[in-house]
Structure formats: C-alpha cells, structure tokens
Symmetry: C2
Subunit: 321 residues, 2 copies
C-alpha cells in the first residue's frame, strides 16, 4: 500500500485497514497544507514549514475524510486541510500564550522567531483556512469552521479566566474542554457529513482526548510526552485529575499554585496519582470513547466507515496506553 511519507505512525492502523482512497486523500491534505503556507516568501516559509514538519497525528483531517467517505471527493480534502490549518494556527498562538519552547520535540515558532512573527503567522494560517473553503464557494463549511474557531477562542479565554482558581467545578472544566477541544473534533465530523450522531461521536472522542491529555500531564513520563510533568499546574490550569484527586485528598486545594516551582509541581503530580485519580479519569475517558463508538451503530453507517472511525476512536486512547 502506498502511504504518504508525512503521515505519522499512530494512524497506521487506520490506513492499513482502509481502502486505497483514504491514504491518497490524506496525501492530498499534506499537499494542500504545504501549498497553503507556501509562496509567502520571507521567513514565514520556514516558520510554517517547521510547524508542518512537526507533523501531528492529523486526527482532525482523518475524521473529516472518514465521515465524508469516499464520495466526499475534493470538498472533503479541502475541509480536511482547512481544519488542520485552524488547528495549526491555534497551536502557534497557544505557544505564544504559553511561551512554550518546544512542541513535539521541536522549537516552537515563538521560540525560534519571536512573539511578533508567531502571532502574525497564526493569523495567516487562520485566514488561509477560511479562504480555502470560500474560494470553493463552500459557505456552509466556513460557517461550521468559524463557529468552531469561536469556540476555541472562548475555551482559551475561559482557561485564562479560571487560571489558578482551585475551586472550579468539574462541570466548568468539562464546559471548557468542550470549547477548547471537543468543538473542533465535532466540527471535523460535521464537515465530513452534517449528521448529529457523527457530531456527538466527535464531541465524545474530543472530550476523551482532552481528559487523557490532562492525565498525561500528571503521569508523564517526560521522555514520552516531550514536556515536564505538572506543566498544567505551573500554568495554573486546573484539570480533572486535580479536581478528582481533591475529592479524596482535599488538602491538595491548599497548594499555592502561584508560588509553584517545577520540583513541587512534580511532587503534587505524585500526590494526585496516589489518590487513584488518574485511573478514575482514564476510566471516564474510556467510557466516553465507548459511548462515541455506540453512536456509529445506526443503519446510516457502512461497515468500513464504522470500523475505521472506531479505529480512530481507539487511537485517541492508544496513544496513552
């Protein structure tokens, strides 16, 4: 089977199980991403290339393509490319906010090129995403994607608003995850095919993805995650593992997050783990994935589509197993 070289290993299971059309389309998405950031000259090429080359799992494009199925054609490739451009734009901007030095083991745009270029590069990726869809006359796709992009920004604002506030509720945390992460997964599915079951599937695996990400920040190990344990704590981001741990070890709420150093953050991670909170949050994420897969039982889904979307859902879990 031909496989686009830029597609990273985690999607292998899906590609191996799929008919030939999927790897071909994913290859077109990679081409589309490259040409969307190409020809801007200056150093932007280098910045954008670095972001592209850092890769990622292309989970969102894969969801678009799989939900659209083989009949999705060029429209699904464009939508898959656009949603990854929005995702890349938010990564570049998030790194500005976090002043992150590394992403996926490579220097971030903000670290290598400065805040100024990173903000503008993110804006450019944003605008290209909408332009790509609009040039093809697809106002419905622009509407879906802009609503998701609004949700992302609101999620980011909510996270900043709640920073260092140890009393936020589980509900508020889940609302933030819906905005910050699940909305784009839902959008990916609906861009492929605007179906409520597919939308709910996307929301649930998006939530599971975020919960497991938050577990990973506490559990590490750094050599696999590429970042120190407790990074969220140091940023003041309150996540479900901490909320869950505090229900059996309320003393955790007494920590002064504003005065945290990396060593203490690691110690708090150990304390969270000691409560069993990580297993409980993992179990909830797994239940969300199982629920998401049940959404695919409807008669409107063909066996191959159900199988491949199921593998993507499993992939969300497996990256942490």
């Amino acid at each position: 089977m031909t496989r686009p070289s830029a597609v990273p290993p985690p999607v292998t299971a899906v590609l191996d199980a799929s008919s030939r059309w999927l790897p071909a389309r994913l290859g077109e998405v990679e081409e589309g991403l490259r040409s969307a950031v190409a020809s801007y000259g200056e150093r932007l090429g280098a910045d954008a290339d670095a972001t592209l080359a850092a890769g990622g799992k292309r989970l969102r494009p894969m969801l678009v393509l799989l939900c659209a199925g083989e009949p999705g054609g060029d429209a699904s490739v464009r939508a898959a490319t656009a949603i990854e451009l929005i995702h890349m734009a938010t990564l570049v901007h998030d790194d500005v906010l976090d002043e992150a030095p590394l992403r996926r083991g490579r220097p971030t745009v903000v670290a290598s090129s400065g805040r100024e270029r990173a903000v503008a590069a993110g804006d450019l990726l944003f605008s290209r995403a909408f332009g790509l869809l609009a040039d093809a006359g697809d106002a419905r796709a622009v509407a879906l994607l802009s609503a998701a992009a609004v949700a992302l920004a609101r999620g980011e604002l909510a996270q900043r608003h709640d920073a260092f506030n140890l009393s936020i509720s589980e509900r508020r945390y889940l609302d933030r995850c819906r905005l910050k992460t699940a909305a784009l997964f839902e959008c990916a599915c609906r861009l492929g095919r605007d179906d409520d079951d597919l939308g709910a599937f996307g929301t649930e695996i998006g939530l599971a993805f975020q919960l497991l990400d938050d577990v990973l920040d506490v559990a590490g190990p750094p050599e696999r995650t590429g970042k120190a344990r407790g990074t969220d704590l140091l940023d003041g981001t309150i996540t479900l593992p901490l909320i869950e741990a505090a229900s059996s070890d309320p003393g955790i709420r007494e920590v002064d997050l504003q005065a945290l150093d990396p060593a203490t953050a690691t110690a708090i991670c150990d304390r969270i783990a000691a409560t069993g909170a990580l297993d409980r949050v993992r179990a909830r994420a797994l239940e969300m994935v199982a629920s998401a897969k049940r959404r695919l039982d409807g008669a409107q889904f063909k066996p191959e589509q159900r199988q491949l979307l199921g593998l993507v859902a499993d992939g969300v879990v497996q990256r942490y197993s």
Copy 2:
C-alpha cells in the same frame, strides 16, 4: 437628521451630505458589532466593549456601504460589520505585538487584560467576522475578506522582518503598505461592489492613509496623536519619511536604531522634518488621493456616490491637516 451616537465626528461631513439610508445603515453596523461580541460572558465582554467603545472612524464600513450604494441592503451591512471586526482583531493583535499601553487614549486589551486574553480575543473577533458572512451564505465575501486578512498578516510579517533595517527601499516600503493597510481598504470597496475602479480607489486611499500615518508619527504633536513622536523609530519600523529624509541627509542612516531612547528618537524626528521630507511625503499622499478620486469619473458611478466617496477620500487627508 438622525445620526447614530457612536459615529465619531470625522465622518460628519459624509453623513451630512448623504441621503438618509447611510446613517441608518451605519447604525446597523454599530449594532452588528455589538451583537457580534456580545453574549460571550466572562471578561471578554468587557475587553471587546472597550475596543468597540474606543470607536474609530469606521472608514472601512463606510467604504463598503458607499460602494454598495443604497441597493446594497443587508448584505452590505453584514460585509461592513465583518470588515470592521477583522480590523478590530488586527488592532488587538497589533497591540499584543507592540505591547502598546494605549490606543485612542484608552488602555489596550493587552494592557488591561494581558497578552493571553488579547490573543484569544483577537482570534475570536477574526472567527466571528468570517462566521457572520458565512452564516448568510456569502462565500464570495468570505473569499475577499480572507485574502485581505492574509495580506494583513503578511504585511505584519514583512514589517517584523524589515525591522531596524535602514537600507530598505521605498519600493519595499510601499509593498508593505499595500499588504498592511491598502489591501483592507481595497477589500472594503470590493465587498461593496466588485469593480476594478473601486478597488483601485480603495488601494490608493489606503496607501495615502498609511503614508500620512507615518508622517504623523514623526510630526506629532503627541497631544493630537495620542502617542509619543518617533514611536515607529523606537519599534524599528522604517517608514517613507525616514527613507525620503536619508536621500538628502544620508547621515540619518548611520543612527543605531537598536540603541535608541525616546529623547534621541524625538531628535531624529526633528532631523527628518528639517530635510523637508514630511512635506514631500504629504504631497505624495495628496496626489494618491487625487488619483483615487479620478477613478470615480467613470459613467458607472452616480453623482451622490462619487461625491460621498470623494468626501471619504478627503477625510483621509483632513485628519492630518
């Protein structure tokens, strides 16, 4: 005549000369801006309100409405609102880049709420702009606006790339102005009516606008501009007044911009002014405005439309007279 209270004095001449439909539509744009940023709860409401309340001349919305004319209807109001949202988004992001404390005499979002919220608030305004047009199914407008937004980001990147480089050419400066400023003016006109003469009109008054802005940074006075003289120099932004001054006083190119303090920046402003460069740049901007107005001589423009667009062009100059 009724006049929306939020419309600031510089547009008075246009409103006084216009039929009743224009002020009514501008009022709808103000409403649209308010509702586009409303209902996001949290502190965003306050941030966005502050940006809205700081106002501005609403030049770009006015261009959309005037180019569309009375038959433009609701579509022109939506496009006018969307382009101002993009403009506001770039102002919020520019202030992040510049770490600007004030804009139009009020604290910026970045100063009052921090870099994190300002980046996300800008992203939100961006996304809302595209969503507004897409919800109405207007893919053509999304395509025009996203191309202009790409140009803005490229202009910003070019400016950062050229920072502190005293050898940049006039041509490179003008290219940057086209991307950074004129593209959005051109887009405003084309959103109203996709006509090459109107597009060229927008480009020329946009360029004149930027040239005069750059003169003002050197000329001051601070009590009218709301910022210290020589702010561009301190940021390392090389503008036409400096390029022009160096042609008669080459020693200006020897200045070490990286080591500049505000007092020295003011002294360099005086030195630029002493060469007569400011008058020469002003004269070029006026010629651009005159050329722009000649674009309106075609038979396709009605007398009222020609008169009102001419007043907008004059307004670009008058804010500096």
